[in-house]
């Protein structure tokens, strides 16, 4: 299985260029799409999910033209939108069964088994008779993944799935996704670096509609080896550091900022090297991109 995206562009009627000539190659396994809010993640996801037209470019999936042969794509697609609702007065079991019919699973016995399995898988079996209106955010999210898994999808697209989940739920969710990644292309869009770090074998970073990089997360981390330095500084000095060095991130630790700086050598005294993690990769790209944008 291989999904190739070639020079995909999209401009919205208000002039926002959501995708700028995006090209990606995605194969079976978990693929993370990382980017800040408004980077174009959802636009890309929606285009892949047949919900949105592209202005130019093409997308193919095993010989299928994703942009044209929508009905064919929909047969093998599982999609969990970033934001979605449910029929409040219908039970999870009933709605899932109903969605299964719409997926084309017409055999009643088969459908029943599938619904039961998915509900158990997503840990909703005990509340299957309950109206969806009474579900908590996490339960609803799990219901969302359950519906995306109906009919053994080959392409699974999940858009910001962990937003609003508590750590335990997020964990469970990750396990489920990881299992799916064994047989299908799973595209996970997120702005949470840990999601990708924990799950993905391949990833891309997107910002302002442009793909900044596509590589294996570990490989990307490897590239930064020995180049990331940290230092705890006074709050008042933050701006000074920011102008002097490539500060890729700053966060408060016990009320004092700790900055990470990208540099081939130790920038100055007090900086100590750190083992880079994916977050540093992410911020380094975003930071570099921002600078570029300012310079350009």
């Amino acid at each position: 299985m291989k999904l190739s995206i070639n020079n995909l562009s999209k401009t919205y009627p208000n002039g926002t260029q959501a995708l700028k000539s995006v090209s990606l190659e995605i194969s079976t396994g978990m693929f993370g799409l990382l980017g800040p809010n408004g980077a174009g993640k959802s636009s890309l996801m929606r285009t892949l999910a047949t919900l949105q037209e592209a202005d130019t470019g093409e997308v193919t999936l095993e010989g299928l033209d994703v942009l044209k042969q929508k009905d064919e794509v929909r047969k093998i697609l599982g999609y969990l939108p970033q934001e979605f609702g449910v029929y409040p007065k219908v039970s999870a079991e009933l709605l899932l069964d109903h969605l299964a019919v719409l997926k084309g699973i017409t055999q009643k016995g088969e459908r029943k088994e599938l619904v039961k399995a998915l509900l158990q898988k997503t840990n909703l079996y005990h509340v299957r008779k309950k109206n969806l209106g009474g579900y908590s955010g996490g339960m609803r999210q799990r219901f969302g993944i359950a519906q995306a898994l109906l009919s053994n999808p080959k392409l699974i697209i999940v858009d910001e799935p962990t937003a609003g989940l508590d750590p335990a739920e997020r964990n469970r969710f990750h396990n489920l996704l990881a299992e799916l990644g064994e047989q299908a292309i799973v595209i996970l869009s997120t702005h949470i670096v840990d999601d990708v770090k924990e799950l993905c074998t391949d990833m891309a970073i997107i910002n302002e509609g442009t793909i900044l990089t596509q590589e294996h997360p570990l490989h990307a981390i490897g590239k930064l080896e020995g180049k990331v330095w940290k230092k705890r500084i006074e709050k008042a000095d933050l701006d000074t550091y920011k102008t002097a060095y490539q500060v890729i991130s700053d966060k408060l630790i016990s009320g004092k900022p700790e900055i990470h700086v990208l540099s081939d050598v130790q920038p100055e005294d007090g900086f100590s090297p750190v083992a880079p993690d994916l977050e540093d990769v992410y911020f380094s790209f975003i930071f570099a991109h921002k600078k570029e944008a300012v310079a350009g």
């Binding site: 999910a49 037209e53 047969k75 999609y79 088969e110 459908r111 399995a117 908590s136 053994n152």
Partner: protein
């Protein structure tokens, strides 16, 4: 604090577009209602000006309450709710703000905004009333107070009441749903209250109970004269004041209650919210997802549609607004059924077709449901934010829309079933079990259902294209308005009027009649139309997140796949071909004219022919021989025959003017005179021909006119199909044969139409009584005086054909039945031909044969009708003169028309009039009354024939009313009579306030039915009460002796009144002037009543009265004249079962406005009154009786 909240609310509202949109809506509607002639919002009738204060008040109330109610609900329902909707309540309630300022501040702020919005109404009306294109005749000079007064005294209190109520509801329920529904609910309650109005007794209660004050105003002003309506504002007094006070109090009270009940607390949910149950957790299981087979194809799609439509139907049925609307609708139906089809307080039997007509009252609710839920369903996924999930499912585009349509279709199907159940239950509850399920199915599922489905598809299409819910709703409303506009532009053909072409009326006699083919074609046509729309809707429906029109068009092209293309094309072909077929039937096989064209033709007729032939002297028909073959199964008939035309004038006549019947289906195929002649001129458009006789017809000379004509039914017509010649129950008159001379009846009569066509606006309705041209022709016209009449009618083998005259012979030939009728004495040139399948009830009185030809199933009222025939013939023969024929027949005809008509020895009688009545013990037997009335016409028209001049109706209709009243009195006693007369008085008083030209005195009435029937009945009853029944009958029998069967000259009311004067004592001569020669009204009122017990154990009742007498001029301008009359004073004792018994009724002299009467009675008095049973014409009949109180001595 209060001020802060208030100013915040005002600032918030000032930035909301809705505020201005609402204002604009009211402004525009008000403007249109006033300034656009074709849009009528309770506007003035007849002589009442369009901007008369009463009209403005009614318009203000209608616009402000009926349309405004939704705006009030939207504005006042949300101020508190808004915080809950936007989840800002925790922010609000945790500030230091107190409950009082919060609630009242929000309320006052919103209410101020509401007052601003509702200013749109007076402003719109004001601007509308001064538009330059308006007809100045119909408007009074501008007076701002006439607009401001209703706003201040009527609209503002209404807004306050509704505003308080809706605010309370919104705040307490905290559900947007209730904000949607409460307007409809209040409106429904209002309609229910309106049904109480039909019962005359509860008018005052209905007036007080109307929260909008609309009915209050209409009841308060119901007897206002035109003059009063044009000059006086509706004052804030009496019941109006009470009504306003009551409802403002209710509103304010609800607001205070809200203050007490409102919980200024976040945690506690709304009134109706259930608490959530806690969730039990079980550990996740390691489960493998089983493999499944995905099958996609037609069979799956069908399954999906079934599954989805079930879900949608469930969603609709379970939603609260749906349940509320349905419940309200059914509640209204049931209330309506309580006094369904009443005439004079007597109900018709709850036949199935009357139930179907009742159930049609639900159609408005269907429309609301369809408009509302088609929006909801189209937006279902997007509203729930489930669209992104649904849109990525491997489901073809048509599945979603089809499922929504079928879901809606299923809901409507079940609702119709429910309605049927309601209908059957109502029938059963009234003890009526002749239930025709076929009729229910035929109309509910044959007519209503397809219409609803088409409308649903239309609404879907509009919602899909609009792609914005509110815009969609607005577009649907605009669509309806646009069809009205099309209509006004002359594009009124049914092919252009969405969902046109109904199944017509059901008749037990003629069942669905000939309506089925045209109905089916129109249904096909409209289904094909919405089919096309559906195909478009499928291709344009939004799937995915692209909303730009350009992208949607691009996608639509992509989606127009082969199957959809085939579907679209085949519906298009069906639409075009059925359209052509309909057009072929309505416009090519038959003649089609829109209403403007009809008016133009009639105007051209008058303009062209009147100057040439308007006064031409013509011979008169003296003898008629006809052979009429009716073919009921084809709805055709052929006629051959001759008229003998005699010159009765003193001049020679050389031109005979022939007017062909105006019906397009009828063609005169030959017309030949038995002496030399030429056809001189033909006016093809008018069906008018001028024949020149070579030898003029000298006075006294005759000519025979042989003619033949054919009435042919071809295909079907656009609308107004002929219901006279039908499968069963054909009934037509000699208007289907040629007539002589210029026909004045074809002239346009409405003032506006005449003006539009450039004709003199004023056209006298009738000739004066002393006009010789008038009193030498009878009411039927100047074609004939009396004629010798003979006819041979044939019809199909299973039907009977009937015409005036006695049956000479009856035979069968070639599978058809023939009937030969001949009258042994001259009759008026006015005869009916009837054919149908009948059963006959026969009887006899004084060797007069009595027959009722009726539909076999209609046996309900035959006994009473037969009884009426006997009693009437007996009374009239004894008191007036002998009956002139040996036979009298009543013949039922289908209920397409509802009247009965008296021809010589023959009375066709509509199915709807007396054959299906449910006459209770205390009811006026309407069938009996109508029968008596029609039989009386055998005297009053057929014996004494009146001249065609002013007041002719008093001679025929008023006398027939009097005659039937006397039979009714004899048979049922005076109490039933009083009930009957109460209705008649009410109908007279309201009739005169709706007069379009001018009210005339009874003796000079001009075909005004509220005078000739209604006032006539009331006045004649009082007249016989004053001078005695015997005296009236003596006068009438003298009149008959002098005037019966005359042909030289016809009687007018001038002569009739002389007979009345002869039998009236000098002291009462003035009542003839009051009753017949002028418009005289009373305002009699009982001011107070007391009594004391005398030493002998009797009771001395004291009554204070105020009596005024008015004389009205022709515009209704009334002036007080001195009173000097004998008027009834009555005392009632309390009766056993709510009926009070009259223990004293005597006439007393009333010669002063204010008087006191002392009356001694034996029993404890309960009520006392002046003219207590309303014998006189009283402007306010309700205030004549008061309860008496014991006086402390």
């Amino acid at each position: 604090m209060l001020l802060n909240v208030l100013s915040f609310e005002l600032k918030y509202r000032a930035t909301r577009p809705a505020t201005y949109i609402y204002f604009a809506i009211l402004l525009l509607l008000s403007f249109a209602g006033m300034a656009v002639e074709d849009i009528v919002v309770g506007g003035g009738v007849g002589q009442v000006k369009q901007n008369a204060p009463t009209v403005i008040t009614t318009m203000t109330l209608l616009l402000g309450s009926i349309i405004g109610i939704f705006i009030v609900s939207a504005v006042m329902g949300v101020p508190v709710l808004r915080d809950f909707e936007h989840k800002t309540e925790s922010m609000m309630f945790t500030t230091r703000m107190k409950k009082g300022p919060y609630l009242f501040g929000r309320f006052l702020g919103s209410f101020s905004v509401l007052l601003f919005i509702s200013l749109g109404i007076p402003l719109g009306l004001m601007i509308g009333s001064v538009m330059p294109w308006l007809d100045a005749d119909k408007f009074l000079p501008f007076n701002a107070w006439h607009f401001i007064q209703p706003y201040l005294f009527f609209l503002v209190p209404n807004m306050l009441f509704m505003g308080c109520l809706f605010f309370s509801f919104g705040a307490l329920t905290r559900k947007l749903l209730f904000v949607y529904v409460q307007g409809i609910a209040l409106l429904a309650l209002w309609i229910v209250a309106g049904n109480l109005l039909r019962d005359l007794e509860s008018k005052t209660i209905a007036a007080l109970l109307d929260p909008f004050g609309l009915r209050t105003v209409s009841i308060f002003t119901q007897y206002w004269t035109i003059e009063e309506q044009n000059t006086q504002v509706v004052p804030l007094v009496g019941m109006i004041f009470q009504n306003r006070l009551i409802w403002v109090t209710v509103g304010v009270a609800s607001l205070l209650l809200t203050y007490l009940a409102f919980n200024f607390n976040v945690v506690k949910g709304s009134l109706f919210k259930k608490r959530k149950a806690s969730i039990r957790k079980t550990p996740a299981a390691e489960i493998a997802i089983p493999a499944t087979t995905q099958k996609l194809g037609i069979s799956t799609y069908i399954k999906q549609v079934v599954n989805l439509s079930g879900l949608y139907a469930r969603e609709v049925v379970r939603s609260v607004p749906f349940i509320a609307i349905t419940a309200i609708g059914i509640f209204i139906l049931i209330t309506n059924s309580l006094n369904m089809n009443q005439v004079y307080g007597t109900s018709a039997l709850p036949t199935t077709y009357s139930m179907v007509e009742l159930l049609n009252g639900f159609n408005l609710f269907f429309l609301i449901i369809i408009v509302f839920y088609s929006g909801e369903l189209i937006w279902r996924e997007r509203d729930l934010k489930m669209n992104q999930i649904y849109d990525t499912l491997p489901v073809p585009n048509f599945v979603g829309l089809s499922s929504k349509f079928l879901g809606m279709g299923f809901v409507l199907f079940v609702m119709l079933l429910l309605l049927m159940l309601v209908g059957v239950s109502i029938q059963a509850s009234k003890g009526f079990f002749d239930i025709q399920f076929g009729v229910y199915l035929g109309y509910l599922y044959g007519e209503t259902y397809p219409g609803l489905l088409s409308f649903t598809l239309l609404a879907f299409f509009i919602h899909v294209l609009a792609n914005q819910k509110f815009l969609g709703h607005a577009l649907i409303v605009i669509f309806f308005i646009s069809t009205l506009v099309l209509d006004q532009l002359g594009l009124e053909h049914n092919l252009l009027q969405f969902n046109s072409g109904g199944l017509g009326r059901f008749s037990d006699m003629n069942t669905y009649g000939h309506y089925v083919p045209s109905f089916s074609w129109f249904q096909t046509y409209w289904f094909a139309f919405v089919g096309i729309l559906f195909a478009l809707a499928v291709s344009f429906s939004v799937r995915g997140t692209d909303l730009v029109l350009k992208t949607r068009v691009k996608l639509a092209k992509q989606r127009f796949t082969r199957p959809l293309l085939i579907f679209g094309l085949s519906t298009l072909i069906l639409f075009v071909s059925s359209g052509f077929y309909i057009f072929y039937n309505t416009n090519i096989l038959n003649e089609y004219r829109n209403s403007d064209q009809v008016e133009e033709l009639r105007a051209a007729y008058e303009k062209t022919l009147k100057p040439l032939y308007g006064d031409a002297i013509q011979p008169k028909i003296t003898e008629t021989y006809l052979e009429v073959d009716v073919f009921p199964e084809r709805r055709d008939f052929n006629t051959r025959g001759f008229f003998v035309l005699k010159n009765k004038s003193i001049q020679s006549i050389s031109e005979i003017l022939i007017q062909h019947p105006s019906d397009d289906q009828l063609e005169v195929t030959s017309l030949v005179f038995d002496r030399e002649y030429v056809l001189d001129t033909t006016y093809e458009d008018f069906g008018f021909e001028v024949y020149k006789l070579t030898q003029p017809l000298t006075p006294g000379d005759s000519v025979v006119m042989n003619f033949a004509c054919e009435f042919v039914t071809k295909g079907f017509v656009e609308s107004g199909s002929n219901t006279n010649v039908v499968y069963n129950g054909t009934f037509f008159t000699n208007t289907y044969f040629p007539s002589l001379g210029y026909s004045r009846d074809q002239e346009l009569s409405r003032k506006d139409d005449r003006k539009d066509q450039g004709l003199p606006a004023e056209r006298d309705r009738m000739l004066d009584r002393d006009d010789p041209k008038g009193y030498t022709q009878n009411l039927i016209g100047d074609d004939a005086d009396r004629i010798k009449f003979e006819i041979i009618m044939s019809t199909s083998a299973d039907q009977v054909a009937i015409a005036p005259g006695y049956l000479q012979k009856e035979w069968e030939k070639d599978g058809r039945r023939y009937f030969h009728y001949k009258m042994d004495q001259p009759i008026l040139n006015f005869y009916a031909m009837v054919s149908g399948r009948y059963e006959v009830m026969r009887d006899e009185i004084d060797s007069i044969k009595l027959e009722i030809y009726h539909h076999p199933a209609h046996t309900y009222n035959l006994e009473s009708m037969m009884n009426s025939m006997k009693k009437s013939l007996a009374y009239f023969s004894e008191n007036f003169s002998p009956y002139q024929y040996r036979q009298l027949r009543i013949i039922e005809f289908p209920r397409y028309r509802s009247f009965a008509q008296s021809f010589a020895n023959t009375v066709p009688f509509s199915e709807a009039m007396g054959f299906v009545l449910d006459v209770g013990e205390d009811d006026v037997d309407f069938g009996f009354e109508v029968t008596a009335h029609e039989i009386a016409h055998q005297w009053w028209a057929h014996q004494v024939t009146e001249a065609k001049v002013k007041g002719n109706g008093m001679l025929s209709e008023t006398m027939a009313q009097y005659s039937s009243l006397m039979v009714l009195k004899q048979e049922f006693g005076p109490e039933i009579m009083q009930k009957f007369l109460k209705y008649e008085l009410d109908r007279y008083l309201s009739g005169r306030s709706r007069e379009t030209k001018k009210e005339m005195p009874l003796a000079e009435e001009e075909q005004q039915s509220y005078i000739r029937y209604r006032k006539g009945a009331v006045v004649m009853y009082a007249f016989q009460d004053y001078i005695s029944e015997d005296s009236v009958n003596i006068a009438l029998s003298r009149c008959i002796e002098d005037w019966a069967y005359r042909e030289d000259r016809y009687i007018t009311t001038l002569e009739l009144l002389n007979y009345f004067r002869e039998v009236t004592p000098d002291s009462l001569q003035h009542i003839i002037t009051d009753m017949f020669e002028t418009i005289t009204l009373y305002e009699n009122r009982a001011e107070s009543g007391t009594y004391t017990t005398t030493d002998e154990g009797k009771y001395l009742v004291n009554l204070e009265t105020k009596c005024q007498k008015y004389r009205a001029d022709s515009l209704g301008k009334e002036s007080i004249i001195p009173i000097n009359d004998w008027i009834d004073v009555g005392v009632y004792a309390k009766g056993s079962d709510s009926k009070d018994s009259l223990i004293y009724l005597q006439k007393h002299k009333v010669d002063q406005e204010e008087m006191t009467f002392s009356i001694e009675v034996e029993t404890t008095p309960y009520k006392v009154g002046i003219d207590p049973i309303n014998k006189l014409i009283d402007r306010t009949p309700k205030d004549n009786v008061v309860s008496v109180k014991e006086k402390d001595s």
